[in-house]
Amino acid sequence: MAADMINWSLLALEPPGWGGVLLAGLMNSIKIALGGYSLGLVLGTGGAFGKLYGGPVTRDLMEVYTTVVRAVPELVLILLLYYAGTDLLNRVSAALGYGSVDISGLAAGIFVIGVVQGAYSTEVLRGAILAVPAGQMEAARAFGMSPLMIMRRVTLPAMLPHALPGLSNLWLICTKDTALLAVVGFSELTLVTRQAAGTTKAYMLFFCAAGVLYLLLTLVSGLIIRVIEARARRGWAAR
């Protein structure tokens, strides 16, 4: 009886089935996750260095940024950044005489996820930098390296193994956070799943299929992460 209830042809890749739509949604999710995560890493690196080595005002502003992002739900931040951000951008461009700009959903999604991830990775990278023995950075300074060169040659490579477990967790959080963009109407995997399910009334089938896709993404990411971690720790003693 259960076998009759499941209509597998709904998952076919060609248009009467919805498989192709789901895969396109998955691709969108991955794009946003990759973009947002990269933006978050850039923001996080800046934030961590600002928090550790910046002046008192920079430090406090960074603290406010990470505190607010860590205390307010992602869903609220996404709405706030998405609607308020596009509205502000439109007003600015109108004031400059360019008229209203059309922001692509992809760019807005990457921006939103990036800002949230930026605060998280600030904290992870800050902890990792603190785990690097101070003597290594002092030695670099004693060699007369400029702060940028110290960062590029000593701090970043030395902290990477410490940061990787946290950063890989953040990547998994990032892939799952893309689902929240469904609420602002961006057609990533969760939203297209809901549309497919709503059209065909095969709710269980489609939500389970999307779950399998997300799980595959997580598990494949886990494999890649393990390879990267093994490589980053190749100089370390075996534990």
Binding site: P56, V57, D60, L61, E63, T67, V68, R70, A71, V72, P73, E74, L75, V76, L77, L79, L80, Y83, A84, D87, Y120, S121, T122, E123, V124, G127, P165, G166, S168, N169, L170, L172, I173, K176, D177, T178, A179, L180, A182, V183, T190, T193, R194, A197, G198, K201, Y203, M204, F207, C208, A210, G211, Y214, L215, T218, L219
Partner: protein
């Protein structure tokens, strides 16, 4: 116990370092201390902040607030109710989940492990919609369920929200409990066995209290994460504070004001939660060797 102290004890360093550092990075677990606020640059910054808040209060539209104050308060109540019920239920589910992964037979530990992997590997929003739309569309097909006493509840949205949030909390905290059960020093368990304690007595008197004690520092972060997950239930028509604010946005067409208020409400709730945890953490004796 502060982060530094925790990192200093060698046994704490073995225990799930990635999970704990990520927890601190994604959830607010400590508040700024009041003493350091009086430095000159902070006073200037606070003045600027007060100016921004004043501008927000003066120039933005807040005339809708009195009409919705009651709804917002009851929404906050629903949010807190969701948070408390799902955290407590989830924790009680997490204890057996962690235990069977450490000591259970394979036919218990494998499903528990699979459950944690699946829940942690898929977005909560998807799980919520799977339960609400999926199970919600499946249940009416069975006459046995339609005629049961639970049916009036199963037709509403909140049981699905509670179920999804509980399962999510249980999976994340179950992973922590697994580490906590595995991390209780073997010597303590052997000592209990040497005293002739039965397996149950050993579990209730030694293993469980020690494991819960070890998991306590993560509870703060997990609960804040749970609070940050509660607004998702608004997408399945539970009227929490997020849903109330969404309603305000639809009625008034305002972009900034309702969302800023919502962010402020969640900031305050998180701060209260962290303060409460700090209060209770001080009461619990922590002396780790």
């Amino acid at each position: 116990m502060t982060k530094q102290q925790r990192a200093a004890t060698p046994e704490a360093r073995v225990k799930l370092p990635a999970e704990e550092s990520t927890l601190d990075a994604t959830a607010l677990t400590s508040l700024p201390s009041g003493r350091a606020l009086l430095e000159p640059h902070r006073i200037v910054l606070m003045a600027v902040g007060a100016g921004i808040i004043f501008c927000a209060a003066w120039f933005l539209r807040w005339d809708w607030l009195p009409n919705y104050a009651g709804a917002i308060v009851s929404g906050v109540g629903v949010t807190l109710l969701m948070l408390a019920s799902t955290s407590v239920l989830g924790f009680f589910l997490a204890v057996p989940l962690g235990l069977v992964q450490v000591t259970g037979p394979w036919w218990l530990s494998l499903p528990a492990q699979g459950f944690c992997t699946v829940i942690r590997g898929t977005p909560l929003l998807l799980q919520l919609w799977l339960l609400y739309y999926g199970l919600g569309s499946l249940f009416p097909q069975f006459p046995e369920i339609r005629q049961s006493v639970l049916w009036p509840y199963l037709r509403e949205a909140w049981p699905y929200g509670v179920a999804a949030l509980t399962l999510s909390f249980a999976a994340y905290e179950g992973e922590v409990m697994r580490g906590a059960f595995a991390g209780v020093p073997r010597g303590e368990l052997e000592a209990a066995r040497a005293y002739g304690m039965s397996r149950w007595k050993l579990f209730w008197r030694i293993w469980l209290p020690r494991a819960v004690h070890r998991a306590l520092p993560t509870l703060n972060g997990e609960t804040v994460l749970q609070l940050k997950a509660t607004p998702l239930v608004a997408t399945i028509t539970v009227i929490d504070v997020y849903a109330v604010i969404s309603k305000v946005r639809q009625v008034t067409f305002l972009t900034y004001e309702p969302l800023l208020l919502l962010a402020l409400i969640y900031l305050i709730l998180t701060a209260l939660l962290v303060a409460a945890f700090r209060y209770f953490e001080k009461r619990i004796p922590t002396r780790s060797a």
